[in-house]
Symmetry: C2
Subunit: 238 residues, 2 copies
DNA sequence: CCAAAAGTGTTTAGTTTACACCCATGC
DNA sequence: GCATGGGTGTAAACTAAACACTTTTGG
């Protein structure tokens, strides 16, 4: 049964990342412009060939070092494998696609061929990279709702209205600052630093500064329904 | 830091599936016993080498035909890439792992080296296959809560108490038939067939038969929180 | 008539949205 | 004082869990 009739495939494997950040009020993705064929002058996701001694996550982190300091990457996770035989011209290349997130307060120095582009208005992209970007955006939107992933978009400390702007940009619709604060506070994700931010020129009450209590991703709303009986909100049973 | 052998890695690529089914009241996974080294006599996930002309999903469906008739597979989805350089001995092999589901009413004819095993009491497994099974189980549990994925575990028609048993086995804790029916009905996932199932020897009211209204997976509870304003439960904005 | 199983009614609890209102600051 | 933005109080809507009770069958 191990006798696969099709010739055993030995394929190149690349890793690609859709690195997302909220910049200038919109969700943007890091792309580089291809200089050479195929797909010259189209925009492409950063990444490259998988090395012989590394797994895919190690590889994408290594390769992103050229673009974004690894310490600036607040979150990295696998999205999916893209494996259509003709997804790139020439020799077959299978891609492991990742979502990467960068907090809104960092502004990495970029190579000259690299730039941020709004996810809602992508330039002409190479290969299947546009669908990878959409997948990354959708994954981010979903996880903002049921995990603490907001920490990966936000600076170390922030006001609620700044956080509201980040969530609004990522989700694509207005989020109420009032309710955002309550939902995140109820779940124990936010804590006040005790400091306040000075008001703008127009005045206004100084905003309290907050931080996320956890720095790593956690599922905060595990069972919307069908949760185990007689428990407030337990994790999955063994 | 750039000393990684970036000699473009050409690696074998395999596809593996954790095929799950509720059998005899427990969630079970389809495994085959390895006859040869490495890891002889350990139990392994079905799958094999990716073919040259197919993508990973086509490949896993093709390879599962040997074990389970494809028409009996009610759902297939990607889990993740497993790519640790030493995950299998010898030449490097990268694996794309899948979750497969089989309705509880089918009982495929299996090769002699293949058998179902309870996910909660796995035999000694080969390579990293145990962690793939756990990933599959966790994915199923999560999606039972916020999608209509129950359709993939259930026969074409079923009683509520039979459905309750399926959900209980998959989730690992008691689910109330009353609330299960209400949750699924409210979401419009269930419809009565009009028929009833005869009661057992001990009597009792005959149970009404139901079916799922949709046969493909759909997200039914897209935003637990942070949903768009002024909408009952809209999908994500563009 | 009683036991058994299925299904419904209703209460209770919890969560989130919406919105009115109060607070603190600059000018 | 008043405009401006920040933050809280509170009501309303919605959802689901828990549980008592009714329905329908076999013996």
């Amino acid at each position: 049964m191990r006798n696969v009739t099709t010739a055993s495939t030995v394929a190149d494997h690349e890793v690609l990342a859709a690195v997302l950040q909220v910049r200038a009020g919109s969700l943007q993705v890091l792309l580089w412009e291809r200089a050479r064929e195929p797909h010259a002058h189209r925009w492409s996701l950063p990444g490259g060939r998988l090395g012989a001694t590394e797994d895919v996550e190690t590889s994408i982190r290594r390769q992103l070092e050229e673009k974004v300091d690894v310490r600036q990457l607040s979150h990295v996770e696998q999205l999916a494998v893209f494996s259509a035989p003709d997804r790139v011209p020439g020799e077959r290349v299978i891609a492991s696609a990742f979502l990467g997130l960068v907090p809104s307060d960092v502004d990495p120095v970029l190579p000259s061929d690299t730039a941020w582009h709004p996810v809602a208005a992508l330039p002409r992209t190479a290969f299947d990279h546009e669908s990878i970007v959409r997948r990354a955006r959708d994954r981010l939107r979903a996880k903002l709702s049921y995990t603490n992933l907001g920490f990966a978009l936000a600076p170390p400390t922030f006001t609620i209205s700044a956080l509201r702007a980040l969530y609004s940009a990522a989700l694509g619709y207005r989020v109420s600052a009032t309710n955002l604060q309550r939902v995140l506070s109820r779940r124990g994700l936010l804590e006040p630093t005790g400091d306040t931010a000075p008001p703008g020129r127009a005045g206004g009450r100084p905003a309290a500064l907050f931080r996320f209590t956890e720095r790593g991703i956690e599922v905060t709303d595990p069972f919307a329904v069908l949760r185990p009986p007689n428990q407030a909100r337990g994790g999955a049973a063994t």
